[in-house]
Amino acid sequence: MTVAMSRPMTAPTRPLKKRAQSAALWFTTFLLMVIMCVPGLWVVLSAFRPNREILAKPPIWVPTEITLGNFAKIFGFGAEQVGIPVTSYFMNSMVIALTSTVIALIIGMAGGYAFARYRFRFKGGIFLGLMLFRAVPGIALSLPVFMMWSRLGLIDTQMGLIIVYVSLNVPFTIWLIDGFFRQIPMSLSEAAQVDGCTRWQAFWKIEFPLARSGIAAAGVFAFLTSWNEYALASQVTRSTDSKTLPVGLMDFTAQFTIDWAGMCAMAVIIIVPALIMTFLVQKHLIAGLTFGGVKG
């Protein structure tokens, strides 16, 4: 009886406070999301609007005219054309980002596995060295890289940029993948070996599938780093042979004008593959974060 009576007395106050809290929380979240998303949204919006609407003063918030003209323009279709080889830049970006990601993942898997599973001399020192290397700002390396690459003839080649990105990404992939292998109990690989596997088979049949989420996560990060990188790419690329999309963006700035519409259209082209990639591996990224729950 007492329980039943006391309930209606407390019931209205608590949910009210809770509801207020939750509303405040959502409002803050909304504000933060607006701050984060508006620039991106503006870029996407501008990609589909003509230049005069983008430059209008006061700004036109709600587009009055949606057009694919900007895309047609930069890809060289339609009446108005821009002399920028976006297709080549796109292909360069793809080749460079994918190749460097694959290489960084292979090295990262081997290195991460070694750090997680084996004992060897100077292990701590090497690991710390890798992390310190990652702490060096990329742009600080641009001059030495430029000088070395110019002597080696790697300036303005895809290979040159691939090497740079692999070395930028490897410390990170090793670190991330090492963490994932560390979470997998050693006894799983041992059990597989007792069950008849070679160490290699045990890796591919047991440890690799379990670390797959982590490897996918490392791959996404490596890909995005390479895909978005501007500073170093702007130093070591020159022409359509190797220029990537972020560097190509600067082609839209002339001495006296900036083609905002074309630039935004190209920015969307840069964003879309990254979004698709993240979306595809999203499941793995989440699985990677909750891996601890399924330990045998």
Partner: protein, 364 residues
Amino acid sequence: MAGISLRGVEKHYGSVRVVHGIDLEIAHEEFVVLVGPSGCGKSTTLRMIAGLEDITGGEVHIGDRLVNDLPPRKRNISMVFQNYALYPHMNVRDNLGFGLKIAGQSPAVITERVNEAATILGLSELLDRTPAELSGGQRQRVAMGRAIVRHPDAFLFDEPLSNLDAKLRGQMRAEIKKLHQKVKTTVVYVTHDQVEAMTLADRIVVMRDGYIEQVGTPMDVFNHPVNTFVASFIGSPPMNMLPGVIAGGQVRLADGTSVPVPHRLTRAVHEGQSVLLGIRPDDICPVGHGLGETAEGTDLDLTVTLAEPLGMESLIYTSVAGQEIQAKLYGPRIVQPGEVLSFRLALERAHLFDATNTRSLEVF
């Protein structure tokens, strides 16, 4: 037919020696338990038999094969790990059949053997679940199932029950024993729990600091411990150890209390020798509350400092010659701290150890 034989097996990690030349013969179908405190080298020894650790010195034979340089997969053994080591991304069926699949068995054979093992262990209902969906005891059974499907020469168990709660541990202990009776395979079982060792083993191997201290049947090790370490490690609560000196056919304790030397040991001691009198709590009982008639005994009046009633028996803390000892009281009787009771020491089951080298003075 596959026994296991260890000959002078050593393990070093750099300059640190963890196993010092172990010799052990394990017969075909025998259930041998390696028992000892943490860090005694028992798990390392097991892992050397499995091939998961390199053997620094000596030889390991499984059946008539020298396996020192064979990888685990060529040793035809199976192992149950402390954390079960089930493959989290496979269901129970695939976990059980994994070894057979790797060995290239046909699907029909795999299905048959998996079903057979599942029936033996009562897993038939769980075949489609993943390890995450199983309870601790079920995981343990799957781990054992994975071990038996391959019909190996030997099973190796590495502290398989230490992750389970006390009740489940008791049940699984019984299941392991039944399983061994059913499948009749050589078993090497590592544990730090002397109860598991006593209940499961055909033979117990007590280890300490990388050495084997004693090998024998459970009763042998219990009744005739070779030194104070084995005496206090096997048996629960541990054996009481009272320091004293031999004087006139008696053990004179620190405060002058004298306890007769057990008859069977009178010839093993000499006057003035420093000894440790070892006597189990079960052999120190208030008169009339013991395990039955003592053929040879001595009575001491002792003050109870603490009593822990366990129902039909009570564990009693008291002290002799300034040293706390544990005693047992059988039968339902309430005992209060401060009570003075006459305790009978069953000397025919008491032990004497040399105080300097801790060895038993018993002549074997």
